[in-house]
Amino acid sequence: MIQSTGLQYRYPLGPQLQFPDVDVAQGAVLLLHGPSGCGKSTWLALAAGLIRPEFGTLTVADQPLQELRPAAVDAWRARTIGFLPQKLHLSASLTVSQNLAMAQWAAGQKQDLSRIREALMALDVAALADRKPGQLSGGQAQRVALARAVLLQPRVILADEPTASLDDETAAAAVQLLVQTAKRQHATLVIATHDARVAHCIPGGPSGEAGFGVLRLSRLAAPVGAA
């Protein structure tokens, strides 16, 4: 569940960014839509607790972020947020399962090999556990990165441009995989994208009960200086 009211952020040398309010139920999908440079990254960073809003409130997975002490944010993020970056950032020097182990290390958790195997199996990439990322296809790598994102069973999954540079077919498959995975985990899914195809790939259609909410950002309404 994600709720925001009157959210505003200002970059040190940039203009004020204002974000429309959102209210997304736990387990639902939010499409963060808009052209590049409209503040999608900033919104993701706010939701992940990486930066603090200048004004407004933001509650993510029952946690009002403004009440979280700065020192506790990292641990909260480790527990709550799963992140799928656009460039997958799998470490080339580590095997697939070591990449996942690194996520457990980053979160300050004990290494749990059975959980890693489980996460890889859920995404059909368990057979690739001992390969290096350089030996994976694009689609396999994205599945591995998704496995890493959901490894710690987060309540919120943030996906940043998951369909960039993918053809229509693969893009649809990627979005469906994301939605299925989030549903299975009963996690709230936020997809930040400038890609119009994404909305058509999510089953149920916009604003329906089984569908997804859209937070439409535009460069004109909320100009971004630095981003």
Binding site: A48, I51, D74, A75, R77, A78, L94, A106
Partner: protein
Amino acid sequence: MKTLLFAWRFVWSRPASAALNVLLLSLGLASIGFLLLVGHQLNKAFDRDLAGIDLVVGAKGSPMQLILSGIFHMDVPPGNVKLSAVQALAKNPLVEQVIPLSLGDNLGGFRIVGTSHAYVQHYGVTLASGRLWDAPMQAVMGASVAKKLGLQVGTTFSGTHGLGAGGHDHGETRYTVVGVLAPSGSVLDRLILTDTASVWKIHDAHNAPYDHDDHDDHEVHGDGGTPVHASDAVRPADTREITMALLRYKTPLAAMSLPRFVNTTTDMQAAAPALEVSRLLHMLGLGTDVLRAFAGVLLLTAALSVFIALWSAVRERKGDLALLRMLGAPPTKVAALLLCEAVWLALIAAVAGLALAQLFTFLLAWGLQLDNSLLIAGTTWPVELWALPAMAIVVSIGAALLPAWGAYRVSVLELLQTR
């Protein structure tokens, strides 16, 4: 623990760069370690062999030569002195003890030293087997000598004239081995000890006027700059000679007057070992300072190389490091990862550097034929040597501080914003 493991994997994700850094670091460390080891072993050898000897009295010449030949048995002695003069000196109230030394012959390059039991007692060396001599022509072998020449109690041998191998053989007068000393690490390890009278006996018999053939042989005498026969002809007891004497003072005050007394009123010279050795170390010191500076520059280069490697690693892996933050790692953890990479480099380099330093020392000892005398390769671990791993860690952590700070501050927003 896990941090170290991941750091290890990241270090070796760029094997060429890691190997180069380890090589540079370990070369710098090895140079410093080598200087430390050699310095330490020289000091130890000097301290050990000098202990309790206040003054060396011998023929006039270079005081340094007297010390080197009389205490460390590394140089040839300047000449002989009259036994009667040394005996007179022994009666001086300032003198506690006199140990006579007579040089002149060797066995397989090991010096045969005519002396008294006091020499053995002075270094506190015990017998591994047999006993000390109680008559002339009985010999006690130093531990290294016995081992290298394979001589045991009961065997006999004849000395060779001169202090190096290859002189005239005194085949007709044979020594009998009566004892072998236990290894002590002192100069006695590489000496063959016998009674002072043995040396006289060999050379008296050798030079007897009726023994003409031998007399001709005796022309070999001056060979190799070793004019060191204890006696040149059959003489009455009061013209007997020894090569030098080691003195111990009765009171520290003797240091003020005794050397001057010997140097001005007798035909002998007195040299204070402490003084000469500090002069020697001072002369060596100029050389080691240059080497030390060189090693320092090498280490600095290594530090710079580590810095560059880690700095570019942070730049290359900025995205990966930012992702770690996104996955919930606090900034300290990301910085620690980088510091651990530096620590790994330091540890590998320290081990390699120590091994290289020991190897260099061994090669030097072996190359200069100083093995088992001044330098004991591979067997010493002076406390100072711990400075090496410490130095390695300090240098590479120092070089990693700025990159680690970069990793600490890595902006996750940038990760989100790079398209």
